[in-house]
Symmetry: C2
Subunit: 152 residues, 2 copies
C-alpha cells in the first residue's frame, strides 16, 4: 500500500496529521510549540513491532522536553534545527541521524526559518514519556553546552 | 549519539555502508544492481525491536525481487523510482510511503537519472528473504501493471 506525499498539502494521502499532545505553556515543563505529527506506519494493525512517525516543527517551535525508557531513532529529512540529548547539543541537518537512549532527556528545536522535519522510529510497545521535573530542567539549563538552548 | 550525514561522501559518520548481499545476475531471480545499504540504527545492541536501514539505488539499478514474512515500512527521501509490490506498480517520489505486507513479492527500481534513496524499517527479529521462484517471476511478469517493469 502506498501513501503518496503531497508537497502542496504537506501531508500523506490516507494519513491524518494528529495533534501532538496539547502543549501547556502555562505549566512549566509541559510546553511545546508548533509541532505536528503523522503516524506513517505501525498504528493500523500492521504485524510489526515498531511505529514510524514524522514530526515537523515550525520555525521557532520545539518539542516537549521529556524522557522515557524506549529509544528514539531519528533521521532528519527536512530543514535544520538542533536536538538536546541529555546535556549535549546536536545541530541537525538533512539526513543526520540521532539516537536517543533510554531515560535520556531530549528536545528538538527549530531555530531556523524553514520547517524542520524528521522521521522518528519507536517500539510499538513502549512506556509513556515523562516530562522534565523542575530539578531536571534546572540541571540541564545549567549545562554549559545548553546555555540558552532549552525551551519550555 | 549523532551520526552526521556527509552530502559530499554520501554516507554517515560512524556507519559503514554494507554491501547489499552479492547479486548473482548469472542466476535467475538472484540479481540486483547498483544497491548500497546503510544500517542506520538497531544493529549496535540498541534496546529496540527494530532496525532502520537506508538503501540507495543507482540510476538503472534495482533491488532483488523477494518476499518474506516480516513487513517493510519504506519512506522515500531522495530521487524517484518505482516499487513493485505484489502485482501492483507504485511510482515513488520524495516522502512517499510504501508498506510491503507479509509474504508479498517486492522490488525497488530506479528508472530515473538521480540516485533513489529510501529508509526501510524492519523488525530486528525477522525471517530470511525468499527470492522469486521461476514460476513466481513468470506470474508477476505477466501482470498487466508490471509489463516491462520487473528486473531480474
Amino acid at each position: 500500500m502506498k501513501n503518496a506525499f503531497s508537497p502542496a498539502a504537506n501531508t500523506w494521502a490516507g494519513i491524518e496529521p494528529v495533534g501532538y499532545r496539547a502543549g501547556r505553556q502555562d505549566e512549566p515543563g509541559q510546553g511545546y510549540l508548533g509541532v505536528t505529527k503523522h503516524v506513517i506506519s505501525g498504528d493500523r494493525g500492521d504485524p510489526s513491532s515498531f511505529e514510524v512517525r514524522y514530526f515537523e516543527v515550525e520555525p521557532g517551535g520545539y518539542t516537549r522536553l521529556e524522557k522515557h525508557q524506549h529509544v528514539h531513532s531519528v533521521t532528519i529529512i527536512r530543514g535544520h534545527g538542533y536536538a538536546v540529548v541529555g546535556d549535549e547539543l546536536h545541530p541537525l541537518a538533512p539526513f543526520d541521524h540521532i539516537y536517543v537512549g533510554p531515560l535520556t532527556m531530549h528536545q528538538f528545536v527549530n531555530d531556523a526559518d524553514e520547517p524542520f522535519g524528521f522521521i522518528c522510529v519507536v517500539d510499538a510497545d513502549r512506556d509513556r514519556p515523562q516530562p522534565a521535573t523542575d530539578d531536571e530542567y534546572a540541571a540541564l539549563a545549567a549545562a554549559s553546552a545548553l546555555r540558552g538552548k532549552l525551551r519550555r
